[in-house]
């Protein structure tokens, strides 16, 4: 039960695990698009790397017939997001388009939301972000550079959504299906990542989510994610929480 009214749009994503080849293109695209600081070696070692989308890799089966399984994980933009109500300053909340938005100005950095997130897709800026001199001019002007001491996470490339909406309004027309592509989905070579509007019954994602392979991650938390996964076809078992733990 949620009291957010999704006027026109309810943005979401359908991830077809069957198509994912684990090439990490989405990770790089996201990094470049959203001004995510570089994950230098020491940051990764200290467990402070930031990657809004990550490819989890699991091994399935025993040698010799071992299969590599990939599953891209980004913010699931849950309807009942456990990260939202715990924030004392409304720095993260659910907007009317079904996005779980992070307001950098409000954030004081209690990191409570990060504890609340079962998918662990929220990241804290322990240091001021720094870029090598050569990359200074590559920063995306549409995206805030997050200062230290605040949380950040996948925003479904909200700036792209805004720009597309503005364009559509200026040409006074409705947004077309597939007009908006997030950085990761546009970078995906196998189009495993599909972004779209779940409120539009005949949008691509709406049709895809009707697929009988569909499932959501960690459903025991009843978070009602807006990211739907389609299971791999060569096995009826879902790549998800269940055997991920066993392969850990």
């Amino acid at each position: 039960m949620t009291s957010a009214n999704f006027g026109g749009h309810n943005w979401g994503m359908v991830v077809d695990i069957d198509k994912c080849i684990g090439c990490q293109a989405c990770v790089i695209a996201c990094q470049a698009e959203n001004n995510v600081p570089l994950n230098t070696q020491d940051r990764v070692e200290r467990g402070r790397s930031i990657s809004w989308i990550r490819i989890e890799r699991y091994w399935e089966g025993d040698f010799p017939d071992t299969k590599a399984r990939f599953i891209p994980i980004m913010c699931q933009h849950c309807e009942n997001a456990p990260c939202e109500p715990v924030c004392p300053v409304f720095a993260t909340y659910h907007n009317s388009e079904g996005l779980n938005v992070q307001v950098y100005n409000r954030c004081v950095g209690t990191r409570y939301c990060a504890n609340g997130c079962p998918y662990i897709v929220r990241f804290f800026n322990y240091w001021e972000p720094v870029w090598p001199e050569t990359l200074r001019n590559h920063l995306n002007p549409d995206v805030t550079v997050r200062s230290r001491g605040i949380m950040e996470k996948c925003s479904f490339c909200v700036h792209r959504i805004r720009r597309a909406t503005r364009t559509a309004r200026s040409q006074d027309r409705q947004l077309l299906d597939g007009e908006i592509q997030t950085a990761c989905s546009s970078a995906c070579p196998t189009s495993a990542l599909n972004f779209g509007n779940f409120n539009d019954p005949n949008s691509k994602v709406s049709t895809m989510r009707k697929d009988q392979r569909h499932y959501t991650l960690l459903d025991q938390f009843a978070t009602e994610p807006n990211v739907i996964y389609l299971a791999k076809v060569d096995t009826d078992r879902k790549v998800g929480a269940g055997e991920a733990a066993s392969h850990g």
Partner: protein, 170 residues
């Protein structure tokens, strides 16, 4: 208004009580004389009249104030800028209850502290005649006169009761 007052000091409770009785018999009206101790003695130990108080009204009053304030704070602030978080209702009663509870208790405590200080007739920057030895265990019987004529018989009562010392003040 009290023109002058007198303090009789006793070392033991018994004589002090005698003095109180004596004053009663001598016909001084209750309330014009009182006993000062450094220790809380059981109520009525000196046959003094038991003071009436309305202490318990203060916390009740405070609680009501605090509760209304809390209801206002928790509901109005949420409605003023409705933000949906995690699909919880804008007015999440069970979260608000906790805040209401705390604020109710807080103002109840503050009110009752005011009550305690007020009901002990404090602060009183002109306490009147007093002796430091009272906090060393001596017991003082203090009496205020409207007319000086009766000072003598009060003094008599004190002496008969065995006052160690008698102080005067105007």
């Amino acid at each position: 208004m009290s023109t002058r007052s007198m303090l009789g000091l006793f070392q033991q409770p018994e004589p002090a009580a005698d003095a109180m009785d004596g004053l009663k018999e001598a016909g001084f009206e209750l309330g014009s004389f009182d006993v000062l101790t450094g220790v809380p003695y059981p109520e009525g130990a000196f046959g003094e009249y038991v003071p009436q108080h309305r202490l318990f009204r203060f916390p009740a009053f405070g609680a009501i104030i605090g509760f209304t304030l809390a209801v206002f704070l928790t509901s109005v602030t949420q409605l003023a800028y409705p933000v949906v978080t995690g699909g919880k209702p804008i007015l999440s009663l069970f979260a608000m209850l906790i805040i209401m509870y705390e604020m109710t208790m807080l103002s109840a405590v503050i009110a009752s502290v005011f009550g305690i200080i007020f009901e002990s007739r404090l602060p009183n920057m002109k306490p009147g005649i007093y002796d430091p030895r009272i906090t060393e265990g001596w017991i003082g019987v203090v009496i205020t006169f409207d007319d000086d004529s009766r000072v003598a018989d009060a003094e008599g009562v004190f002496n008969r009761a065995g006052a160690v010392e008698i102080k005067h003040a105007s």
